[in-house]
Symmetry: C2
Amino acid sequence: MAEFRRYRGSDLRTFLVAIFEHYGVSHADAVAEAESLVRADEMGIDSHGVAHIMANAYIPGLRSGEVDAKAQPEVVRQTAATALMDAHGGLGGVATTRAMELAIEKARSTGAGFVAVSNSRHFGAAAYYALLPVEHGMLGLSMTIGGLGVVPTYGRGRRLGINPLAFAAPSKHRHPFLLDIATSVVAGGKLELARMNRRSVPLGWIVDRAGKPTTNTDDYYAGGALLPLGGTPETGSYKGYGLAVMIDILCGVLTGMGFAASLGQTSARPHFVGAIDIAAFRSLDDFTTMMDEMIDTLGATEPAQGAERVLVHGEREFDAIAERTRNGIPLHPEVVDRLTSVAEAAGVPLPAPV
Amino acid sequence: MAEFRRYRGSDLRTFLVAIFEHYGVSHADAVAEAESLVRADEMGIDSHGVAHIMANAYIPGLRSGEVDAKAQPEVVRQTAATALMDAHGGLGGVATTRAMELAIEKARSTGAGFVAVSNSRHFGAAAYYALLPVEHGMLGLSMTIGGLGVVPTYGRGRRLGINPLAFAAPSKHRHPFLLDIATSVVAGGKLELARMNRRSVPLGWIVDRAGKPTTNTDDYYAGGALLPLGGTPETGSYKGYGLAVMIDILCGVLTGMGFAASLGQTSARPHFVGAIDIAAFRSLDDFTTMMDEMIDTLGATEPAQGAERVLVHGEREFDAIAERTRNGIPLHPEVVDRLTSVAEAAGVPLPAPV
């Protein structure tokens, strides 16, 4: 087992801000981008945190110009409750944070706000944005087109993105409800992990290039694809397929950027975020009281034979936040190596572990 | 094979309107309710059409008073983009149609409209409502809490509703995109069908009272439950579980009516509908042109080995509309018997088959 070292979240924020500033990003934008990444780590979404910084949507993109450090998201069209924002090729976390801030502002005045974002880059963890309205007593929704990797039901080859959807709602004394799911059976990260460890994957995750179910991850990388949520036609794969297309429509067709199959393999990404003000429907206090009741009821479900207990979405993430805020964020040695090389190239000191 | 007889949609509409009027429903409300039912049949959603009329949410409910024939949906709270509507125990199709009309009106003036409905009854097919905004160049969304029937991941017993979600978007020369799914692996109708035919169901649909997977439908009716979309934890059942809770929140907690587990087995239902105006984001013509491209791209996906072709959501329903508008709606002899007894009790003549 590789030895993880723990880093304080505040130290990682300061470090990332300095790195982004080094590559020409303004201080305010660097703070927004760093926050989206480190918060993902604090929630335990390690695949979408600082470990991701060497993906094209971040440092290499800033170096090559594929990501425009100076780009400022621009509202190109808006109504009282909606806006279309052009990210102009800038960092995804910056554009999506601004988009959600605008959605919250609109929800405060009209009850609901929805902002579609074009020409953005990978935005990290969908959960991060869905949680922003929760701080304001609102429901939050975020989605994006992910990498092309999913096969439509009865087909072969990749025609759908690994499209995530996140939804969050506040509670009173419990954790917020937080759903963050890819509309494929699993997200890409779990395949990558299985491949690295030379392990087979369960039947129902992937198909080979002929569209036939397989447990060998090599088949995925040789022209295969992930299955949509539901797995097979018999167990509802057209549902995951349809949810992926719904996200393609809300992000890609509504902005005009294109759907997953037309976008292809690029770091350019559209997003869709929304906020709904709970007070427009009923008192926030009554709402959050009922949320607590619901969370308690679900959590108290008698476990199935052999199972430990029933979890409610968000519990794991908020437990991780509590633990990692206290003890620091554990980083894999390979991630530390990655950050070390980023630090050296930018002449910015890497913080010491806890 | 039982012999189906075909009835003209217009005849069934006239018949149902007379039936509802007989039980005290106003003409305008009877037309709205009949339309939601017959249109479901035309789309091929037979389980939610006229066959459903003997469920408590319809004729028996009107007879017993469980459904209030005279109830008028009332907007009890609203903002520019949202409304909370109280259906006051009236017919679900009436309240939900009014709710969606209000959402469309709000979307026309602010870009987006969302209406939550409390104290309603079963609303029929979610697809019907999601399609209403499409006629106005808008995206449509509808959901409701279904009957208590789904087990949370790692649990036993029914804590979640068979909650459906529908989403629709217009195209230019193709059919509209139309997603209408239950967030369980399958909807209840498929189990009922398997039980009637004494057939086992695939592993991954249901669990027994101990929470263990089973293929015997008797186990479902003896305290078992449907699995959430995703089936097992390994293939993402927490995703279907979370989507079901999201719908509980938007329909039940936002209206204050309660979540699936607190509502229990009742015909009282909350709903949530929304409309988003495409023109608020980009030209409708550009949008629908890209929708056609997307539908063509998905439909042209090379089929998997042994499969015939890839379908796109909505194709089947709009093919059914074309065929059934031409040839009439095929009704099972048992459904005809049901309608005959309804006709006799109300003194309203059943139309002749085509």
